[in-house]
């Protein structure tokens, strides 16, 4: 059972009256993994995360946290969980210190460990300087960090963050990114976002939701495909000349962007270069095709909307 996922959601869906907000999401998050949940606004990200945290009951499917069913053993399962909702659940009239202490209390941390846990969270989130300040008087970035500190203070196995960087300035965003990266050492992190570069740079795996449906799950870069190359010429040859090269299986014109070739033999590249030189095609660009997260995302989310 070493490969057992920390979080295992199978076919989880939620219906609000007539509206199907989320249907059949499958998620597995393992230890040491950062998993990104992507989607447009209203795609069902927050609803999904709320179901995974046990603050919203799914209308279908099963959620297991560290092997425990979330609905059957909510208290044991939630001990493993740290959650930052979309709106940080702060108490504006208390100071940072006291609020975090309260967070350790409701997470049932033994009394003796609470102070150390608070100190550790303050240090991790770089909040030491404001620990005695009232949360109300802190800037948005600091409040967000207090929200994250609240989610990690009891060292849960799984940390779920709902749009942790929303509304922050670029420097704060990068600070929070570093924090999430630091957290992966000991925890698994699942977070939602609609900022693609952020997800691409942070995540090991990505799930894309669109209109409540799970439309992609996998690596954030897509699979780099050495057999697909994009070439561009100054004076493009006819497509059948390229198709005639031994080892070229398929040719697709990308208009101004050049030509996309599918290769079946490694030697095809050599032949292509020689022919370009001999015939004066004027090779300008040659690179392996790797779909970016943005491409994957746009492919999946724009097509659907027309349908």
């Amino acid at each position: 059972m070493s490969d057992q996922a920390l979080l295992d959601a199978a076919g989880v869906g939620r219906r609000y009256g007539q509206r199907q907000a989320v249907e059949a999401v499958n998620l597995r998050v393992r230890r040491g993994e950062i998993h990104g949940l992507l989607g447009l606004n209203g795609a069902g990200k927050s609803t999904t995360l709320r179901m995974l945290c046990g603050t919203l009951a799914p209308t279908r499917g099963q959620i297991r946290l560290a092997g425990l069913d979330l609905l059957e053993h909510p208290i044991e399962a939630k001990r493993q969980l740290g959650y930052l909702p979309e709106i940080p659940p702060l108490h504006p009239d208390t100071c940072v210190d006291e609020y975090l202490r309260y967070a350790t209390l409701v997470r049932r941390l033994p009394r003796g460990q609470r102070s150390a846990a608070v100190d550790r969270a303050l240090q991790l989130c770089d909040l030491g300087a404001v620990r005695r300040r009232l949360i109300r008087n802190l800037s948005k970035g600091f409040q967000q960090r207090v929200g994250i500190a609240q989610a990690i203070v009891h060292q849960p196995a799984l940390i779920i963050l709902d749009e942790p960087t929303a509304g922050l300035d670029p420097r704060q965003v990068s600070a929070i990114r570093d924090l999430i990266r630091a957290l992966r050492q000991e925890h698994a992190v699942l977070f939602s976002s609609h900022i693609l570069p952020e997800v691409q740079s942070l995540c090991d795996r990505v799930t894309i939701l669109h209109q409540g449906r799970q439309v992609y799950q996998g690596k954030p870069q897509g699979d780099a495909n050495r057999n697909r190359v994009r070439v561009r010429f100054r004076s493009p040859p006819p497509l059948n000349a390229l198709a005639g090269i031994p080892g070229v299986e398929h040719v697709e014109s990308l208009e101004e962007q050049g030509v996309l070739l599918s290769l079946s033999l490694d030697t095809a590249m050599d032949v292509l270069l020689r022919q370009s030189l001999d015939n004066g095609w004027g090779l300008e660009e040659l690179r392996p095709e790797r779909p970016t997260l943005e491409q994957i995302f746009l492919d999946l989310t724009t097509g659907e909307e027309l349908a």
Binding site: C53, G54, T55, L56, A57, P74, I75, E76, A77, K78, R79, L81, Y83, P85, I87, P88, P89, L90, H91, P92, D93, T94, Y102, A103, L105, V106, R107, R108, Q150
Partner: protein
């Protein structure tokens, strides 16, 4: 766990200026009322009592009307309404309730923790009310047993009203609405039998039984009966039970 939650919530209540304002205002109002009753006894009743050689005294003519007064109940209701505003509704409005929903806590623990904190505050409010008659001690003979029984009655009433408050607080995410619901249910419970006399021209036994005042009056008179105690405990427990159910439903369905 429940006690720790309650202690933290109680400290939060005391950190709000509104709570202190309420403590001050209610104490001033009730204190003034007590003073008026004492003054009325001194200038009017004392001579009368001596004249007709009545067995009645301060205990009947000052302490009893004091505890039976509408003013005291209104202040208690006001304090309960304040609790209704902050205990759950405020946390729902600000979203901080999500921390509790996602924490390894049972809803019963949560409701009881908040309930005890609210009750502790109301006890703080009514403690000086109960102690105030002791100021007459040097001048007269007080019936301390009856004072204690009146205090118990006030405490039970507070316990019931806080249960109503926490139930109302779970019903809405608008704190003012929670306060109004508390006042509405509270008034209904206190005076539901009052209308029956007017409308039906006789006392309706069922409505009389349901009314909280029916069970409060004997305690003020010094009669501590298990039936009256049971009334407050059962009704209070009922409201707490519905509050727990409501929170459970909110956590999972909203």
């Amino acid at each position: 766990m429940i006690w720790q939650l309650a202690w933290r919530e109680f400290r939060l209540i005391l950190s709000s200026p509104l709570s202190w304002l309420l403590l001050a205002v209610s104490q001033a109002v009730v204190g003034w009322w007590f003073l008026l009753l004492v003054e009325q006894y001194r200038t009017r009743y004392e001579a009368l009592v001596i004249q007709v050689n009545s067995p009645m005294g301060v205990n009947d003519l000052v302490v009893m009307p004091y505890f039976g007064s509408v003013l005291l109940l209104a202040m208690l209701l006001l304090a309960a309404a304040l609790m209704a505003m902050r205990l759950v509704a405020e946390e729902r409005r600000s979203g901080s309730i999500q921390l509790l929903f996602a924490a390894p806590l049972g809803m019963t623990e949560l409701v009881l923790g908040k309930y005890l904190a609210g009750l502790a505050f109301l006890v703080l409010v009514l403690l000086p009310w109960v102690l105030m008659p002791l100021a007459l001690e040097p001048a007269t003979v007080l019936d301390r047993g009856r004072l204690a029984s009146s205090g118990l009655g006030l405490f039970l009433l507070a316990a019931l009203l806080v249960a109503v408050a926490i139930f109302a607080s779970c019903m809405t995410r608008q704190p003012p609405l929670a306060a109004v619901i508390t006042v509405a249910i509270g008034l209904l419970l206190l005076g539901i039998n009052a209308g029956a006399v007017v409308v039906a021209d006789h006392r309706d036994p069922i409505l009389s039984y349901v009314s909280a005042l029916t069970h409060y009056q004997p305690l003020v008179q010094g009669l501590v009966g298990t039936a009256n105690l049971a009334y407050f405990l059962l009704l209070g427990a009922g409201f707490l039970f519905f509050a727990v159910r409501r929170l459970d439903a909110l956590r999972l369905q909203a």
